[in-house]
Protein backbone atom coordinates (compact mmCIF):
# COMPACT_ATOMS: atom_id res chain seq x y z
CA UNK A 1 0.00 0.00 0.00
CA UNK A 2 1.84 3.06 -1.25
CA UNK A 3 0.95 6.63 -0.20
CA UNK A 4 -0.71 7.09 -3.58
CA UNK A 5 -3.13 4.29 -2.73
CA UNK A 6 -3.96 5.97 0.59
CA UNK A 7 -4.59 9.32 -1.08
CA UNK A 8 -6.84 7.73 -3.68
CA UNK A 9 -8.79 5.89 -0.98
CA UNK A 10 -9.30 9.14 0.94
CA UNK A 11 -10.54 10.95 -2.15
CA UNK A 12 -12.84 8.04 -3.04
CA UNK A 13 -14.36 8.19 0.45
CA UNK A 14 -14.84 11.96 0.14
CA UNK A 15 -16.49 11.51 -3.26
CA UNK A 16 -18.91 8.93 -1.87
CA UNK A 17 -19.81 11.12 1.12
CA UNK A 18 -20.61 13.93 -1.30
CA UNK A 19 -22.58 11.61 -3.58
CA UNK A 20 -24.67 10.14 -0.77
CA UNK A 21 -25.30 13.61 0.66
CA UNK A 22 -26.33 15.05 -2.71
CA UNK A 23 -28.72 12.16 -3.28
CA UNK A 24 -30.18 11.96 0.23
CA UNK A 25 -30.83 15.54 1.23
CA UNK A 26 -33.86 17.42 -0.01
CA UNK A 27 -32.48 20.87 0.65
CA UNK A 28 -31.06 22.45 -2.51
CA UNK A 29 -28.16 24.13 -0.70
CA UNK A 30 -27.04 20.80 0.77
CA UNK A 31 -27.23 19.15 -2.66
CA UNK A 32 -24.98 21.89 -4.05
CA UNK A 33 -22.56 21.41 -1.15
CA UNK A 34 -22.45 17.68 -1.87
CA UNK A 35 -21.51 18.44 -5.46
CA UNK A 36 -18.76 20.74 -4.20
CA UNK A 37 -17.44 17.88 -2.05
CA UNK A 38 -17.28 15.63 -5.11
CA UNK A 39 -15.34 18.32 -6.99
CA UNK A 40 -12.93 18.57 -4.07
CA UNK A 41 -12.38 14.82 -4.20
CA UNK A 42 -11.38 15.16 -7.87
CA UNK A 43 -8.92 17.92 -6.92
CA UNK A 44 -7.38 15.66 -4.27
CA UNK A 45 -6.78 13.10 -7.02
CA UNK A 46 -5.02 15.64 -9.25
CA UNK A 47 -2.67 16.62 -6.44
CA UNK A 48 -2.04 12.99 -5.42
CA UNK A 49 -1.14 11.94 -8.97
CA UNK A 50 1.08 15.00 -9.40
CA UNK A 51 2.89 14.35 -6.11
CA UNK A 52 3.43 10.61 -6.58
CA UNK A 53 3.33 10.40 -10.36
CA UNK A 54 6.19 9.67 -12.74
CA UNK A 55 6.86 13.15 -14.18
CA UNK A 56 7.60 15.60 -11.38
CA UNK A 57 9.28 18.20 -13.62
CA UNK A 58 6.15 20.17 -14.48
CA UNK A 59 3.60 21.79 -12.20
CA UNK A 60 0.75 20.34 -14.25
CA UNK A 61 -1.24 18.97 -11.31
CA UNK A 62 -1.15 22.25 -9.42
CA UNK A 63 -2.21 24.23 -12.49
CA UNK A 64 -5.05 21.80 -13.16
CA UNK A 65 -6.25 22.25 -9.57
CA UNK A 66 -6.12 26.03 -9.86
CA UNK A 67 -8.29 25.95 -12.98
CA UNK A 68 -10.60 23.48 -11.29
CA UNK A 69 -11.01 25.75 -8.26
CA UNK A 70 -11.91 28.63 -10.60
CA UNK A 71 -14.57 26.50 -12.29
CA UNK A 72 -15.91 25.42 -8.89
CA UNK A 73 -16.21 29.05 -7.78
CA UNK A 74 -18.20 29.89 -10.93
CA UNK A 75 -20.38 26.83 -10.36
CA UNK A 76 -21.08 27.77 -6.74
CA UNK A 77 -22.02 31.32 -7.70
CA UNK A 78 -24.41 30.24 -10.46
CA UNK A 79 -25.88 27.44 -8.31
CA UNK A 80 -26.59 29.70 -5.36
CA UNK A 81 -28.10 32.32 -7.67
CA UNK A 82 -30.39 29.61 -9.05
CA UNK A 83 -31.34 28.65 -5.48
CA UNK A 84 -32.22 32.25 -4.66
CA UNK A 85 -34.29 32.51 -7.86
CA UNK A 86 -36.06 29.26 -6.91
CA UNK A 87 -36.75 30.58 -3.41
CA UNK A 88 -38.20 33.75 -4.86
CA UNK A 89 -40.41 31.68 -7.13
CA UNK A 90 -41.83 29.14 -4.67
CA UNK A 91 -40.94 30.55 -1.22
CA UNK A 92 -38.94 27.49 -0.16
CA UNK A 93 -35.98 25.52 -1.47
CA UNK A 94 -37.18 21.94 -1.11
CA UNK A 95 -36.29 19.82 -4.12
CA UNK A 96 -39.64 17.99 -3.99
CA UNK A 97 -41.48 21.25 -4.62
CA UNK A 98 -39.30 22.08 -7.62
CA UNK A 99 -40.78 19.33 -9.80
CA UNK A 100 -43.10 21.87 -11.39
CA UNK A 101 -40.03 23.14 -13.24
CA UNK A 102 -40.27 20.02 -15.43
CA UNK A 103 -40.99 20.90 -19.04
Amino acid sequence: MTPLHLCLLISSALFCIGLAGALARSNTILVLLGIELMLNAANLNFIAFWRFGPSPAHATGVIFVIFSIAIAAAEAAVGLALIIALYRHQRNIRLQDAVQLKG
Binding site: T2, P3, L4, H5, L6, C7, L8, L9, I10, S12, A13, L14, F15, C16, L19, A20, G21, L23, A24, S26, N27, I29, L30, L33, E36, L37, N40, N43, L44, I47, W50, R51, F52, P54, P56, A57, H58, A59, G61, V62, I63, V65, I66, I69, A70, A72, A73, A74, E75, A76, A77, V78, L80, A81, I83, A85, Y87, R88, N92, I93
Partner: protein, 172 residues
Protein backbone atom coordinates in the same frame (compact mmCIF):
# COMPACT_ATOMS: atom_id res chain seq x y z
CA UNK B 1 4.24 11.13 7.29
CA UNK B 2 1.43 8.59 7.32
CA UNK B 3 0.27 9.71 10.77
CA UNK B 4 -0.12 13.28 9.52
CA UNK B 5 -2.05 12.00 6.51
CA UNK B 6 -4.30 9.95 8.80
CA UNK B 7 -5.09 13.00 10.96
CA UNK B 8 -5.83 15.11 7.86
CA UNK B 9 -8.07 12.37 6.45
CA UNK B 10 -9.91 12.04 9.76
CA UNK B 11 -10.66 15.77 9.93
CA UNK B 12 -11.55 15.95 6.23
CA UNK B 13 -13.87 12.96 6.07
CA UNK B 14 -15.32 13.43 9.56
CA UNK B 15 -16.33 17.02 9.02
CA UNK B 16 -17.68 16.27 5.54
CA UNK B 17 -19.83 13.42 6.85
CA UNK B 18 -21.02 15.50 9.81
CA UNK B 19 -21.93 18.34 7.46
CA UNK B 20 -23.96 16.03 5.26
CA UNK B 21 -25.72 14.53 8.31
CA UNK B 22 -26.40 17.75 10.19
CA UNK B 23 -29.95 18.98 10.68
CA UNK B 24 -28.88 22.60 10.99
CA UNK B 25 -27.92 24.29 7.71
CA UNK B 26 -25.61 26.84 9.32
CA UNK B 27 -23.74 24.04 11.09
CA UNK B 28 -23.47 22.23 7.75
CA UNK B 29 -21.93 25.26 6.07
CA UNK B 30 -19.44 25.80 8.88
CA UNK B 31 -18.48 22.11 9.01
CA UNK B 32 -17.89 22.20 5.27
CA UNK B 33 -15.52 25.11 5.77
CA UNK B 34 -13.59 22.84 8.18
CA UNK B 35 -13.59 20.13 5.52
CA UNK B 36 -12.23 22.56 2.91
CA UNK B 37 -9.52 23.56 5.39
CA UNK B 38 -8.67 19.85 5.66
CA UNK B 39 -8.35 19.72 1.88
CA UNK B 40 -5.98 22.68 2.03
CA UNK B 41 -3.97 20.84 4.70
CA UNK B 42 -3.76 17.84 2.36
CA UNK B 43 -2.41 20.08 -0.42
CA UNK B 44 0.20 21.46 1.99
CA UNK B 45 1.10 17.90 3.00
CA UNK B 46 1.60 17.00 -0.67
CA UNK B 47 3.77 20.06 -1.27
CA UNK B 48 1.33 22.06 -3.39
CA UNK B 49 1.52 25.30 -1.41
CA UNK B 50 -0.03 27.54 -4.04
CA UNK B 51 -3.04 25.27 -4.50
CA UNK B 52 -3.50 25.15 -0.71
CA UNK B 53 -3.61 28.92 -0.40
CA UNK B 54 -5.91 29.21 -3.43
CA UNK B 55 -8.18 26.65 -1.75
CA UNK B 56 -8.23 28.65 1.51
CA UNK B 57 -8.92 31.94 -0.25
CA UNK B 58 -11.54 30.68 -2.68
CA UNK B 59 -13.35 28.00 -0.67
CA UNK B 60 -12.93 28.91 3.00
CA UNK B 61 -13.03 32.62 2.30
CA UNK B 62 -15.43 33.13 -0.56
CA UNK B 63 -17.58 30.08 -1.27
CA UNK B 64 -18.46 29.44 2.39
CA UNK B 65 -19.49 33.09 2.79
CA UNK B 66 -21.67 32.88 -0.32
CA UNK B 67 -23.23 29.67 1.03
CA UNK B 68 -23.93 31.31 4.40
CA UNK B 69 -25.55 34.26 2.64
CA UNK B 70 -27.72 31.89 0.62
CA UNK B 71 -28.71 30.02 3.79
CA UNK B 72 -29.70 33.24 5.53
CA UNK B 73 -31.50 34.67 2.48
CA UNK B 74 -33.62 31.56 1.92
CA UNK B 75 -34.56 30.58 5.46
CA UNK B 76 -38.20 30.04 6.30
CA UNK B 77 -38.20 31.15 9.89
CA UNK B 78 -36.49 34.54 10.27
CA UNK B 79 -35.92 34.32 14.03
CA UNK B 80 -35.22 30.68 14.82
CA UNK B 81 -32.40 28.42 13.75
CA UNK B 82 -32.27 27.07 10.21
CA UNK B 83 -33.49 23.50 10.56
CA UNK B 84 -33.89 21.00 7.76
CA UNK B 85 -36.26 18.10 8.00
CA UNK B 86 -34.60 14.69 7.64
CA UNK B 87 -34.81 12.87 4.34
CA UNK B 88 -37.49 10.24 3.88
CA UNK B 89 -36.48 6.69 4.70
CA UNK B 90 -36.70 5.39 1.12
CA UNK B 91 -34.63 8.25 -0.21
CA UNK B 92 -32.06 7.87 2.55
CA UNK B 93 -31.72 4.12 2.00
CA UNK B 94 -31.39 4.55 -1.76
CA UNK B 95 -28.78 7.28 -1.41
CA UNK B 96 -26.74 5.37 1.16
CA UNK B 97 -26.80 2.16 -0.89
CA UNK B 98 -25.76 4.02 -4.06
CA UNK B 99 -22.94 5.68 -2.11
CA UNK B 100 -21.83 2.35 -0.63
CA UNK B 101 -21.86 0.65 -4.05
CA UNK B 102 -19.81 3.42 -5.66
CA UNK B 103 -17.43 3.32 -2.69
CA UNK B 104 -17.01 -0.44 -3.04
CA UNK B 105 -16.27 -0.17 -6.78
CA UNK B 106 -13.80 2.70 -6.29
CA UNK B 107 -12.03 1.03 -3.35
CA UNK B 108 -11.72 -2.26 -5.23
CA UNK B 109 -10.34 -0.46 -8.28
CA UNK B 110 -7.80 1.51 -6.23
CA UNK B 111 -6.64 -1.44 -4.15
CA UNK B 112 -6.29 -3.76 -7.14
CA UNK B 113 -4.39 -1.31 -9.33
CA UNK B 114 -0.62 -1.34 -9.34
CA UNK B 115 1.11 2.03 -9.49
CA UNK B 116 4.72 2.65 -10.30
CA UNK B 117 6.72 3.66 -7.23
CA UNK B 118 6.96 7.37 -6.64
CA UNK B 119 10.14 9.16 -7.71
CA UNK B 120 12.75 9.62 -5.04
CA UNK B 121 12.40 13.36 -4.56
CA UNK B 122 9.09 15.10 -4.34
CA UNK B 123 8.14 17.45 -7.18
CA UNK B 124 8.29 21.12 -6.41
CA UNK B 125 6.05 23.83 -7.79
CA UNK B 126 7.33 27.26 -6.89
CA UNK B 127 5.17 30.29 -7.48
CA UNK B 128 7.63 31.47 -10.15
CA UNK B 129 7.33 28.18 -12.02
CA UNK B 130 3.53 28.22 -11.80
CA UNK B 131 3.43 31.82 -13.02
CA UNK B 132 5.71 31.07 -15.97
CA UNK B 133 3.61 28.06 -16.96
CA UNK B 134 0.35 29.99 -16.58
CA UNK B 135 1.64 32.81 -18.77
CA UNK B 136 3.33 30.52 -21.29
CA UNK B 137 1.78 27.20 -22.30
CA UNK B 138 -1.48 27.76 -20.41
CA UNK B 139 -2.05 31.40 -21.41
CA UNK B 140 -5.05 30.64 -23.60
CA UNK B 141 -6.64 28.53 -20.86
CA UNK B 142 -6.12 31.36 -18.35
CA UNK B 143 -7.89 33.82 -20.64
CA UNK B 144 -10.75 31.40 -21.23
CA UNK B 145 -11.18 30.85 -17.48
CA UNK B 146 -11.26 34.60 -16.98
CA UNK B 147 -13.99 34.98 -19.60
CA UNK B 148 -15.89 32.04 -18.09
CA UNK B 149 -15.78 33.54 -14.59
CA UNK B 150 -16.96 36.91 -15.88
CA UNK B 151 -19.85 35.37 -17.79
CA UNK B 152 -20.82 33.09 -14.89
CA UNK B 153 -20.82 35.90 -12.34
CA UNK B 154 -22.79 38.21 -14.64
CA UNK B 155 -25.27 35.40 -15.17
CA UNK B 156 -25.51 34.82 -11.42
CA UNK B 157 -26.26 38.51 -10.87
CA UNK B 158 -28.93 38.47 -13.58
CA UNK B 159 -30.50 35.31 -12.12
CA UNK B 160 -30.50 36.46 -8.52
CA UNK B 161 -31.29 40.12 -8.97
CA UNK B 162 -34.23 40.07 -11.37
CA UNK B 163 -37.22 40.90 -9.23
CA UNK B 164 -40.46 39.48 -10.65
CA UNK B 165 -43.58 41.63 -10.58
CA UNK B 166 -45.73 40.57 -7.68
CA UNK B 167 -48.80 41.76 -5.87
CA UNK B 168 -48.17 44.15 -3.01
CA UNK B 169 -50.08 42.00 -0.49
CA UNK B 170 -47.85 38.92 -0.77
CA UNK B 171 -44.65 40.92 -0.47
CA UNK B 172 -42.74 39.88 2.66
Amino acid sequence: MTVVLAIIALVLLGSAAAAMLSRNLVHSALLLAVSWLGTAAFYLWAGADFAAFAQVIVYVGAVSMVVLFAVLLTRQNPVGDVQVEPASRVRLTAALSVGACVAAVLFAAVVSSDFRPAPAQAPTATVKQIGLELMGPYGAALLIVGVLLTVALLGAIVLAASEPKRNPEDAP
